[in-house]
Symmetry: C2
Subunit: 205 residues, 2 copies
């Protein structure tokens, strides 16, 4: 006979709370730790005041926890502003705004640096993050299509998209951040992205 099952408001609320506490502890550990190498589920569990097994119950694996942390950061990272940016009348202004939004996102929580490091050791996590980045690529593609003149070949468009995609990526942001404020990086990337648009209109190559 099948065991009767039921949903419990109080229980699932408590579970959700511990889940959030674990995510918070994990992102704090990522922020404060100097390397992803030191990031262990044991440390996180202790910081959250739970057992390591609870982490497994909630997230399934280390990878699951890391994805949950990234999604939590993304939720509060200001990416919802992208909708407004994409709706702007001037696609170049929209691109500038897009760069601004992503610079703010990359610099908001230093845990994102460690999460990108985690891509190196966990291919499936890397794939998961890459999929989340595809949204950025789609946004860039849409803007390029609006900016490009009729004469722009598909290859020229693809080049512009991929170049701007690379310029707005986290690795580029991190490389440019040595000795630069967030705003300074933003202006530099904006200038580079504008320069990358040139081949789309000027048919001189």
């Amino acid at each position: 006979m099948p065991p009767r099952s039921y949903v419990s408001p109080a229980r699932s609320a408590a579970a959700a709370e511990t889940r959030e506490r674990v995510i918070e502890a994990a992102s704090r550990t990522l922020r404060e730790g100097e390397s992803i190498a030191r990031f262990s589920l044991d440390t996180v569990a202790k910081a959250a005041g739970v057992t390591r097994l609870t982490v497994y119950n909630q997230f399934g694996s280390r990878r699951g926890l890391l994805e949950a942390v990234f999604d939590e950061i993304a939720r509060h990272g200001g990416l919802h502003q992208l909708a407004d940016a994409m709706a702007m009348a001037d696609p170049r202004a929209a691109l500038d705004r897009m760069v601004e939004i992503f610079c703010a996102f990359w610099s908001r929580d230093s845990a994102v640096a460690r999460l990108h490091d985690a891509m190196a050791t966990d291919p499936e996590f890397a794939e998961a993050l890459r999929e989340r980045n595809e949204r950025r690529r789609r946004g860039v593609t849409a803007l390029i299509d609006r900016i490009a003149g009729k004469g722009a070949s598909p290859q020229t468009r693809k080049d512009a998209v991929d170049l701007i995609f690379a310029l707005t990526s986290y690795p580029t942001f991190a490389l440019l951040s040595t000795g630069r404020s967030r705003d300074e990086v933003c202006r530099l990337v904006q200038a580079a992205c504008r320069a990358a648009l040139a081949p789309l209109i000027n048919p001189s190559s």
Copy 2:
């Protein structure tokens, strides 16, 4: 009484040979493995036909082995051509050539991808690789100084240097390599670098 010590041509030659064999096995393992996570000294030692302890005797640690692999790749990676490139009369042509040399370098041995992944988990190894990249930065700086007009401010120069440094980095190369041949990536990066030079002469901002 101090133990007498001596140098042994035959022994050090044999040691150098096993050292090379281990490096070769390590880079092969990195190339064939799908992730740095699977890269263990045990695997390398077996592939080289030696004991894991021999690896420790020769390289001290996992990090030491990885550095040795990178240096070996760099030695045969064509970076010596940089001297000729830097000696070119036209600094813009030199920059084009530089981009070419680095695109060839990044694409030559797929083990470099895994080595960059290793930066994520080993901060000291990351630092070691960063130092080796400083040579590229110095080269870019020298070219920018030759290209920049008198009116170019230090900040404008720094911006150009850092931007080109980022454009010629491995992460950028890897990001642009999806669906592009080495030469195509090279041309795209060259164009982006040329565009990054504009603020150096045109004082219109």
